[in-house]
């Protein structure tokens, strides 16, 4: 625009600025220019253009901040946490199927054994993925490595339990209990370490949540810039209509409208993101609780089998079963997962059947109820509960991904904002330029 013609007024300003060598000359020049009508108009249009540029900058940084935080939450930290929970559930499932396979004598029923192998494979694969994608620092990395080593020891103990059991040796039970304890014991057990990794990721999640809040608060700065631009445009409008006794200046009016539109768009986008982020947060909480419920269901079922396999252990496993099912019932009640709750009640009933059989001295009958595949028998109702939880997890996971995608959408503002900012600057220039030209005529 500077090279339109040699008589371009801005070129003259530039030339004057560059030829003034005395200090303070530029400021004085601006003041001198502002005191004249065309100078004032030129200054206003330059200021509005600068404001439009700032608007674009502020808006972009808000959107970048949002996108960065949402990327971290939605595709980094939350998937990492969910992955550790997935490993947790797979390991709990492995421990459960190890106990079931043990109880079945490793002969009569092949299925639990296959299940165990699948569970261990799943857990190992997920664990490797978690180690590869670890974002929670060296502490988490060390924990994941330790878990890998302990898992090797765990499978060794399960194999020893199996080998002894197949020969009818009661010591197999002792190995199985040791394996289960290695998995479940608080503090340095495999699952406890996994939970520690989850906690480290939770810490990162809290930081990313704060980042999102800061990004959304950046919209206030955008609003302030927009208000300043509108102020300048209104000032220019008033100045022009007074000086030239004219109707409203169309260019300035359009520029004002564009600024207001940009501000409204930005406000809408931020509100949309905040709302969707809250939805994602709720969906995440649901995913989190459902995975925990799934692990608890596996633990509880495993404890029924352990209690049957190790009848001499007193009520250790029965107490664990009660604690786990109580917690599970509370969780499912809070979640309001109707189908899972119904399956949970059937699961409790089947658990009571097993215990009643044990109390009646019918050990073989208890094992049949625990492993049986008839209606209402424990293995079947556990399968239903696990499936209901799996479906609920998939739904909540979809809900979460959808909410994150929605929150991450700029609602066209990424393309709209530069256009609007340019429009504000150009429309201002377009509105003011004929008035300046009147002075040259």
């Amino acid at each position: 625009m500077y090279a339109v013609s040699p008589a371009s007024p801005s070129l003259i300003i530039r030339a004057e600025l560059f030829t003034s060598l005395r200090p303070g000359a530029g400021i004085r020049l601006v003041r001198d220019r502002a005191s004249t009508t065309p100078g004032r108009l030129r200054l206003l249009s330059v200021s509005v253009a600068a404001g439009a540029g700032l608007l674009w900058l502020a808006g972009s940084s808000v959107m970048l901040g949002e996108a960065g935080a949402l990327e971290g939450i939605g595709r980094g930290t939350v998937p990492a946490i969910v992955l550790t929970q997935q490993v947790h559930a797979a390991l709990a499932a492995a421990d459960r199927s190890a106990a079931n396979a043990f109880l079945s004598g490793g002969v009569a029923i092949v299925e639990p054994r296959t299940e165990y192998e699948i569970d261990i494979e799943t857990a190992t694969r997920d664990l490797e993925q978690a180690a590869e994608q670890n974002r929670a620092g060296p502490e988490a990395s060390a924990q994941l490595q330790a878990i890998g080593a302990l898992l090797a020891r765990y499978t060794g103990l399960v194999e020893q339990a199996r080998a002894n059991n197949r020969q009818g040796f009661p010591i197999g039970v002792a190995y199985l209990r040791d394996a289960s304890s290695l998995m479940h014991r608080p503090g340095d057990g495999i699952l406890a370490r996994l939970d520690a990794v989850g906690a480290l990721n939770e810490r990162d999640l809290a930081r990313e949540r704060a980042g999102l809040t800061v990004a959304l608060a950046g919209a206030a700065a955008f609003g302030a810039v927009a208000a300043a631009v509108v102020g300048m445009l209104v000032h220019a409008q008033v100045f022009v209509s007074r000086r030239f006794n004219r109707q409203l200046n169309d260019g300035l009016l359009a520029a004002t409208a564009a600024t207001v539109l940009a501000a409204a768009w930005m406000g809408g986008q931020v509100a949309h993101t905040a709302l969707a982020a809250r939805g994602a947060e709720q969906a995440y909480a649901r995913v989190h609780d459902l995975w925990r419920a799934r692990s608890l269901a596996n633990d509880a079922d495993g404890n029924v089998s352990l209690s049957l396999a190790a009848p001499g252990a007193g009520d250790e496993f029965d107490r664990a079963f009660t604690a786990e099912t109580d917690e599970l019932g509370r969780l499912l009640g809070e979640l309001g997962a109707a189908r899972s709750l119904a399956a949970y009640r059937a699961f409790l009933d089947a658990g009571a059947d097993v215990r009643a059989a044990v109390a009646g001295g019918n050990q073989a009958g208890a094992v049949t109820v625990a492993l049986g595949t008839g209606p209402g028998q424990l293995a079947v109702v556990f399968g239903e509960l696990d499936e209901a939880l799996g479906d609920a997890i998939a739904a909540a996971q979809d809900e979460f991904s959808g909410a994150v995608d929605a929150a991450d959408s700029p609602l066209g503002l990424d393309a709209g904002l530069p256009c609007l900012a340019a429009a504000v600057a150009l429309l201002t220039l377009w509105g003011v330029r004929p008035r300046i030209a009147e002075y040259r005529a």
Binding site: N164, A174, Q363
Partner: protein
């Protein structure tokens, strides 16, 4: 004189302590009584109770199956068509779950079958253990469940000692076990005297653990939560040896061919059937059943079935009576 009074006082305190234990319904021993007045139960107490294996003499011949005398505990059991017995679930030769069938089996399980047969007769051959309900219990909870009335009788490798008799009553001895030591086949040790500074495992709270701790050769006692855990530690190299009842150790050598039993006996472990205190008629009935088994060779047959592969059956442990 003062010493004797002090001893009597201590004995009374011990009885009082036993009676205020965790048992909710210590019906037949509700009030602490001085040892001399404790009858028909023998005088328990820390001072010793004489020969604790002396039990109550059967009064006359065993009643015919299905015809238990009215008013007796055996009659009550017969009427409810169920003998509820506590056993171990993890001792290979005496009471263990067969993982293939999920049935309990062992010397003590068969012994309880004989008791059930004496009460209900042969008609329970129709179904296995039709009238015998076996519940696997821990040693710690056995006495509690007996006193609460949840169990009629317990066969759980329980050694008849004065301390044990403070909690339950015992039949005559049905098996004489002794405490010995198990080491690796490659170990040069020939007894506990060779285990100086070695880790010797026994179940936590067992008398065997106390014996290990008191051994003059100063082995390092290792307490495991249960006996099988001792074998796990032995196999993992955490424990160098295990010291416990020879029948438990024999069960271990069955499960681990690299283990062998060495040395002389460290303590006697006379096993008795435990019943709730205050049921002398049940004790006399059980003693009559055992008497019959000793006399007609069923005891020897049981021994041969479960322990015959380790050597010829010894004569059954003689019955000792106090009245």
């Amino acid at each position: 004189m003062i010493g004797a009074r002090l001893a009597a006082l201590l004995a009374m305190a011990a009885v009082a302590g036993a009676c205020t234990g965790p048992a909710p319904a210590a019906t037949h021993r509700a009030a602490p009584r001085p040892p001399a007045a404790a009858s028909p139960s023998p005088a328990p107490g820390a001072e010793g109770c004489g020969d604790p294996t002396r039990s109550l003499r059967p009064d006359g011949p065993l009643p015919a199956p299905g015809a238990m005398p009215a008013g007796s505990v055996a009659r009550e059991i017969q009427d409810r068509r169920q003998l509820v017995a506590g056993v171990t679930g993890d001792r290979l030769l005496f009471g263990a779950l067969d993982p293939l069938t999920n049935h309990l089996q062992g010397f003590e399980v068969d012994l309880l079958r004989e008791v059930a047969r004496a009460i209900f007769g042969e008609d329970d051959r129709g179904g296995p253990d039709r009238h015998l309900v076996l519940r696997v219990v821990t040693e710690a909870e056995a006495a509690l469940l007996l006193r609460r009335g949840d169990l009629d009788v317990v066969a759980h490798q329980l050694a008849i000692t004065c301390a044990a008799r403070e909690r339950v009553d015992f039949s005559t001895e049905y098996f004489h076990a002794v405490q010995r030591v198990l080491v690796a086949r490659t170990s040069p040790a020939t007894g506990i005297s060779d285990l100086r500074g070695k880790h010797v495992c026994a179940a936590a709270g067992s008398d065997a653990l106390a014996v290990v701790a008191a051994a003059p050769s100063r082995p390092i006692p290792v307490a495991a939560p249960d006996w099988n855990e001792c074998l796990v530690r032995f196999q993992q190299g955490v424990a160098d040896a295990i010291s416990g009842d020879d029948v438990t150790l024999l069960g271990f050598t069955e499960q681990d061919p690299y283990a062998r039993i060495v040395g002389e006996k460290l303590a006697d472990e006379p096993y008795g059937l435990a019943v709730a205190p205050g049921h002398p008629d049940l004790v006399r009935f059980l003693d009559a059943v055992l008497e019959g088994m000793r006399a007609d060779g069923r005891w020897t047959a049981l021994y041969e079935r479960w322990l015959g592969r380790f050597g010829p059956a010894p004569p059954p442990p003689p019955a000792e009576y106090r009245d």
